[in-house]
């Protein structure tokens, strides 16, 4: 029984102060989806009985099967709040009905792109943390991400039931654990404090922390309890809340509050323990002991009434129902969401700077800032959601300003759109605007700003994300592209079993790449289709989707994992190499060297990393670039001015530097030499992998005096050959991708984890025991190449207690010489060359270097 209709929902969409767009984020298995159920149940979409079991937002069969969320799912919920509960709310509001657009996101690191997409279109985040496991690696990641997007977080300490039932912690112990969790969250967030966003530190006494048990559907904030005690202590609610947290102790005997624990008195207890933890513990234990008489008395005191049939229940079921009736999760969470998360009207004021690419004083920026439903249209599509059957997609996003309506003609600005150009720009009609209400969608005539929306009819022009504006808004800039914290590094080739089904595969790959924010479908030079995903699990899900959903079950052959390597050099070229042009009339002299000098502090990011991070790049001001290079990396200032190009793809982590003096016609061949550099840095001499961290220096040039004999045809292939020769003379090495693996395990099996990790070539980065828990946190660097059976091995060695989270971290030089027979990198190169259909052995230096 849904408690609201589409009309009601639509009506509250206009009240921009009464909207909350929020995502639920957390580490994997900390109970996001389960907790979300409580909120959904409160809106009446599912019944309270099953809340916590259905996992309403896990809509896919494999999500239910694996018990993890894979795709983020949006759901619009409508609540009528009572005047009573809104009494203390100081912000702007229009009436008592609230609209919450909630997005449940996956916690596994492989799907963190979904989190990014969810954060972009929301203003607040409910951070869920397991009270026992505490802040985990993914919690940190999502917190960082949300603050980067200026998303205000509130915290809920989840799985409270574990404290009572599983660990049977006493009050003080539990309090310490909770306090630690909260402190850790705050510590994680503090470096990302943002003036405009205001303080994001969470504190229970402010009401920004809730304590919940998602599985049982109950939760409380300190204000829930404060309300109960206001009458008793005759203080106001805010004052009471403060007393319920921190160093506030109450001596039941003396009926006095104090700031320090009076150790002498056994009746003196921390406020939180005395007034929050203990009552719950008593209720729970009474329920579990089936001491019903005592229970009814207690419930009477608390003014909690149970339905007649519920009174028949026993044990856990009874406990669940009692707790739900006493401290319904939705009440506490809703209050926290409504009170402490910003409305779009508030949030867009400070988010506009982070969102809009164009000038912040143009009409579009102003409309976003004011959240103006009558302003120009600005919609950001953050993801594409497959429609159930038709093979089409909904474009799901957020209206930042204006109103999007069925039949609107919109300009679609794709991720490669450049203002003023026609690239990646389409004008299309929105066929239908849709809102999500649980598992079903409802069409609405239009959706005003501040809300999430799904649109039909645009899917053939949007790959993954886009900005939509009015068709006539030609001077609008797009909304900034999302930055993902992970990148697709695991790749596998796919082919059809039956060659004639290739068109099906092609179509399937198109759809797949649309359905996921980070999957990349490309084609190799050898003609193989390749799917790249963030991690193994991600890729597995993608392949399954491809076969089952997008290709109708057609048989596909999946190849072994393909790992991309990088080629680099480790020393300066042993000598200056020279290559002659095909007509023998031009000579290029070059040297290669590593971008980083040998005495670079290993802790400092490398030049290549700095280029990756776009701190230096082709578009820089030359002075700025020179300053960074000379101050941080010890480059000669003049040298930094002579950078001709970055490559591959004009912005990669390799450089070409001109060291010539007084060469005639040099300006004429610059473009040709750089073309050769782009080519060579894309396909290195070892295995045609991209180069990384290589600096090529042009030392001298002899050119024919007739321009016809020094054209591109003579220079481009020659400069490429010269660069290969330079690379081969500078101790070339392969670089392999490394994962940072985060493992949380009971300390008892940590030893087994070490064994498995070392056997797979891992190196320990850090280890930490989690205070107050039997858990240890281990961090390893692990070669991606050896990570594929790592998860399984680890599970086997720890009887399933260790669950690694792998994320690409850096490129590491393989120290062995690829030219030495039988070396690891030599084998890797041989494999790559075989896969790419190249000659078995690396082309020798003599092919590239010419003699005078």
């Amino acid at each position: 029984m849904v408690k609201f209709t589409a009309e009601e929902l639509r009506a509250s969409m206009d009240k921009k102060h009464n909207i909350r767009n929020m995502s639920v984020i957390a580490h994997v298995d900390h109970g996001k989806s389960t907790l979300t159920d409580s909120l959904v149940a409160a809106a009446g979409i599912i019944s309270q009985d099953v809340a916590g079991d259905v996992r309403m937002t896990d809509t896919r069969a494999d999500e239910a099967e694996r018990g993890i969320t894979i795709k983020s799912t949006g759901i619009s919920l409508h609540y009528e709040m009572t005047d009573e509960s809104l009494k203390r709310f100081k912000g702007k509001r229009e009436g008592n009905s609230y609209l919450i657009n909630l997005i449940d996101s996956p916690g596994h690191i492989d799907f963190s792109s979904e989190v990014t997409a969810a954060l972009r279109i929301t203003d607040g985040a409910l951070v869920v943390v397991d009270c026992i496991e505490g802040v985990c690696v993914q919690t940190e990641t999502v917190l960082r991400q949300s603050l980067g997007e200026r998303i205000k977080p509130v915290l809920t300490v989840n799985k409270m039931d574990r404290c009572f039932l599983e660990l049977q912690q006493d009050g003080e112990e539990a309090y310490q654990a909770f306090a630690r969790v909260i402190e850790n969250v705050n510590v994680t967030m503090s470096p990302y404090e943002d003036e405009k966003l205001g303080s994001c530190l969470v504190a229970p006494e402010k009401g920004t922390v809730a304590f919940s048990a998602g599985l049982h559907g109950w939760a409380f904030t300190l204000s829930s309890f404060a309300k109960m005690y206001v009458a008793k202590f005759k203080v106001d609610e805010a004052k009471m809340m403060e007393r319920l947290w921190g160093e506030n102790y109450y001596d039941a005997a003396t009926r006095k509050w104090s700031n320090a624990k009076n150790t002498a008195s056994p009746t003196c207890q921390r406020g939180f323990v005395q007034f929050c933890y203990e009552p719950i513990r008593r209720i729970i234990s009474t329920c579990m002991n089936d001491d019903k008489e005592k229970l009814w008395q207690m419930l009477d005191k608390l003014k909690v009434t149970l339905k007649a049939e519920d009174k028949e229940l026993t044990g856990k079921k009874l406990m669940k129902r009692v707790m739900q009736a006493w401290l319904p999760a939705s009440d506490a969470l809703l209050e926290m969401i409504v009170f402490h998360l910003p409305s779009p009207a508030t949030a867009q004021q400070y988010r506009v700077e982070n969102l809009y690419e164009g000038p912040l004083d143009d009409p579009y920026a102003t409309a976003i800032r004011n959240c103006d439903p009558n302003g120009p249209l600005m919609v950001y599509v953050s993801k594409m959601i497959p429609a159930s059957d038709s093979g089409r997609f909904f474009a799901f996003g957020r209206v930042f300003s204006g109103t999007v309506a069925t039949g609107n003609k919109v300009r679609i600005m794709g991720p490669n759109f450049v203002p003023g150009e026609k690239k990646d720009l389409y004008v299309k009609t929105v066929q239908r605007t849709v809102i999500w209400m649980g598992k079903k969608q409802e069409s609405v005539a239009d959706v005003p700003c501040g809300n999430t929306v799904a649109m039909v009819g645009l899917d053939q022009f949007i790959t993954k994300n886009a900005t939509l504006t009015d068709e006539k808004a030609v001077d609008a800039h797009p909304i900034k592209a999302m930055k993902f914290s992970v990148s697709p590094v695991v790749r596998k080739s796919v082919a059809c079993k039956n060659a004639a089904e290739l068109p099906k595969l092609v179509e399937g790959l198109k759809r797949l790449s649309k359905s996921d924010p980070l999957v990349v479908c490309t084609i190799e030079e050898s003609g193989e289709h390749v799917i790249a995903g963030v991690g193994q699990l991600h890729l597995e899900i993608c392949l399954k989707d491809l076969q089952d959903d997008f290709m109708g079950g057609t048989d596909i052959i999946v190849g072994p994992p393909i790992i991309t390597y990088r080629e680099t050099v480790t020393t300066n070229s042993s000598h200056t190499v020279m290559s002659k042009s095909p007509n023998k009339h031009n000579r290029l002299y070059m040297e290669a060297r590593p971008l980083d000098s040998a005495d670079l502090d290993p802790q400092q990011p490398t030049v290549a990393k700095t280029i990756d991070d776009e701190r230096i790049g082709p578009k820089d001001d030359i002075k700025e670039r020179g300053k960074i290079l000379s101050e941080e990396f010890g480059w000669d200032k003049d040298l930094a001015r002579k950078i001709w190009a970055f490559g591959p793809d004009t912005k990669g982590p390799n450089m070409f530097v001109d060291m010539c003096k007084g060469v005639q016609y040099l300006s004429e061949i610059k473009d040709s030499v750089v073309a050769g550099f782009q080519w060579a840095s894309k396909e290195g001499a070892l295995a045609e992998e991209n180069m990384r961290g290589v600096c090529f220096e042009l030392c001298d040039v002899m050119l024919h005096s007739d321009s016809i004999h020094r054209g591109g045809g003579q220079i481009i292939p020659t400069s490429r050959r010269a660069m290969y020769a330079a690379q081969l003379t500078a101790s070339p090495r392969l670089m392999q991708p490394m994962y940072l693996v985060d493992i949380q395990v009971p300390q008892t099996v940590a030893g087994n984890v070490y064994t498995v990790a070392y056997n797979s070539g891992g190196e320990l980065k850090e280890e930490a025991n989690r205070v107050g828990t039997p858990l240890a946190n281990l961090k390893f660097y692990l070669p991606v190449a050896r990570s594929f059976d790592f998860t399984d091995k680890l599970r086997a060695a720890t009887s399933g207690q260790a669950f690694p989270q792998c994320v690409f971290d850096h490129w590491k030089i393989m120290p062995c010489d690829p030219f030495q027979a039988g070396s690891d990198s030599g084998k890797v190169i041989a494999d790559i060359r075989k896969r790419k259909g190249l000659k078995d052995i690396i082309t020798p230096l003599s092919e590239y270097e010419d003699k005078l």
């Binding site: 053939q460 030609v474 290739l502 092609v506 790449s513 095909p582 610059k670 073309a675 292939p717």
Partner: protein, 509 residues
């Protein structure tokens, strides 16, 4: 001397020349046979003189501008030759102007070993066997047939073996003009010797024509027929010869068939065609890459193969219809250095005979594709289905290819892994959406050209060679002088540089 006579079929050639009463004949030799050229010419002259054909002028041609497998008609027309005698490996592409006589040469073939291997192959498979061979082994096929028939008798085999025939050894440019058959032709065939060059073609697979209840195939100088109900997949192809471009042509065209190659040097069969399948997959990649190109170079690699002008026109039309820019370049034997002189072209379409069309462009700055691949790449909505053609004559259509302008979906690029906008819509939009005219103009006024020269130069951001030139850091002598215009306009010299008009008087003095 007898060796030369036999190997180069001197008497047969002389008969041919005599029977048609040609007086100026060009002898075209590939590089590897060039050392025999003088001897062959001498022998031929002697043979002609002996048979009453004196007065025939013979010219030796070598080092052809394009490929030695094609008849060099341009070279021959320099000496006003009436016909070309082509020696060595031939692709048998139809000529457009001159009649040609082909001497394939004779490579030794161990017919007994080959016959046995053929028999073995037929036992392994219950499919019919179709024997195809390099033209240089054509002389030994009759022997082979006899050997195989003998072997079958003794082994009571029942599987049918079919042999392809050599299409002809004489080729005339037009079927209507001359329908003479060379009676002295040693090979048995009574087919129409000339190949229709007026290009009436079904689009898909013209190397296969339906005639009555037979399906007739012509490929690389070989011809064979199959019952109309049979597909080529029902046959095992048994190729006798080297692993060369003719074989590649067969494998790629019939890439779904079982193929056995009998290696004439090692005298053993091999089933390994994986390297060619790799090539096929790579071609697929190149097609995907070509889809992303904005500027396309059409490389004219033949001036002889019939219909080349037509296909060039068709390519230009196709490229234009796809909203891309094409430039036509005439280039004999493309190589890395030659093509890199045109760095603005992102892909080249190589119009040449079927056996040279397949260039391995790995070392080239831009890939080179065949006209068939270009059709796949530049026709929206066409998919790679595995079917493959190398011979462009099969592509020629009399009607303009139909271009659907309905851009119902943006194009997905597998190179970039996302949707890309093809810059073709510009012209059309302006007319169709007049309501937006003002907006369009504003947009233009606002546009900033060439924000990133690097992207234009090295990442295919240019839409035409002009864009490319604008992005270059060096654009040659620009002619934008600082100073004012020259004072007055003067009449310059007239005439040729060898001697201007006013100079002739001087030399007369």
């Amino acid at each position: 001397m007898d060796d030369i006579d036999a190997r180069y079929e001197v008497p047969r050639t002389a008969d041919f020349i005599r029977s048609r009463a040609y007086t100026r004949v060009a002898l075209q030799f590939p590089d590897e046979m060039l050392r025999d050229a003088a001897a062959v010419a001498r022998a031929l002259r002697r043979e002609l003189a002996g048979g009453g054909g004196g007065g025939v002028k013979l010219f030796v041609m070598a080092d052809t501008a394009y490929n030695s497998c094609c008849v060099d008609e341009v070279g021959a027309s320099h000496i006003d030759a009436q016909c070309v005698v082509h020696y060595g490996h031939a692709c048998m592409s139809p000529t457009s102007n001159l009649p040609a006589f082909f001497v394939f040469g004779k490579m030794p073939l161990d017919t007994n070993a080959c016959g046995r291997s053929l028999l073995e192959c037929s036992r392994e498979s219950d499919k019919h066997i179709l024997v195809l061979y390099g033209l240089e082994y054509a002389h030994a096929i009759d022997d082979l047939k006899a050997v195989v028939a003998e072997l079958y008798k003794s082994h009571s085999g029942s599987v049918e073996v079919q042999y392809a025939d050599v299409l002809c050894s004489v080729m005339s440019p037009s079927s209507a003009a001359e329908r003479e058959h060379d009676q002295s032709d040693g090979n048995t065939h009574s087919n129409d010797v000339s190949i229709q060059s007026d290009g009436v073609a079904t689009f898909v697979n013209n190397c296969c024509n339906v005639e009555g209840s037979k399906r007739k195939y012509n490929l690389g100088g070989l011809t064979w027929s199959t019952p109309i109900d049979d597909n080529m997949e029902d046959y095992v192809l048994y190729w006798i010869g080297q692993d060369n471009s003719a074989f590649a042509n067969i494998v790629l065209t019939f890439n779904k068939c079982d193929i056995v190659r009998y290696d004439t040097v090692a005298n053993q069969p091999s089933r390994d065609v994986s390297h060619l399948m790799k090539i096929l997959r790579r071609r697929y990649y190149l097609v995907e890459k070509a889809k992303d190109a904005n500027i396309i170079g059409i490389l004219v690699g033949t001036l002889g193969v019939a219909g080349y002008l037509h296909i060039i026109e068709q390519m230009k039309y196709l490229i234009k219809a796809a909203g891309k820019k094409s430039y036509t370049l005439v280039m004999g034997r493309p190589n890395s250095a030659k093509l890199a002189n045109f760095p603005e072209c992102e892909v080249f379409v190589y119009v040449s005979c079927a056996q040279t069309a397949l260039l391995d462009s790995k070392e080239f700055l831009a890939p080179v594709i065949t006209p068939f691949e270009a059709v796949l790449a530049f026709t929206r909505g066409r998919e790679w289905t595995g079917e493959y053609l190398l011979d462009f004559k099969d592509l020629i259509t009399t009607e303009k290819p139909e271009i659907s302008n309905k851009t119902e979906e943006a194009r997905f690029s597998f190179i970039k892994g996302g949707y890309v906008e093809d810059s073709c819509t510009e012209g059309k939009e302006e007319q169709s959406e007049t309501s937006l005219a003002l907006a369009e103009v504003t947009e233009k006024a606002l546009s900033i050209r060439n924000l990133n020269n690097d992207a234009v130069l090295y990442q295919g951001g240019a839409n035409s060679a002009i864009d490319y030139l604008k992005a270059r850091s060096y654009r040659g002598l620009t002619g934008e002088y600082e100073g004012p215009a020259p004072d007055s306009v003067l009449t310059g010299r007239t005439g040729r540089a060898a001697g201007y008009n006013h100079e002739t008087t001087k030399s007369a003095q």
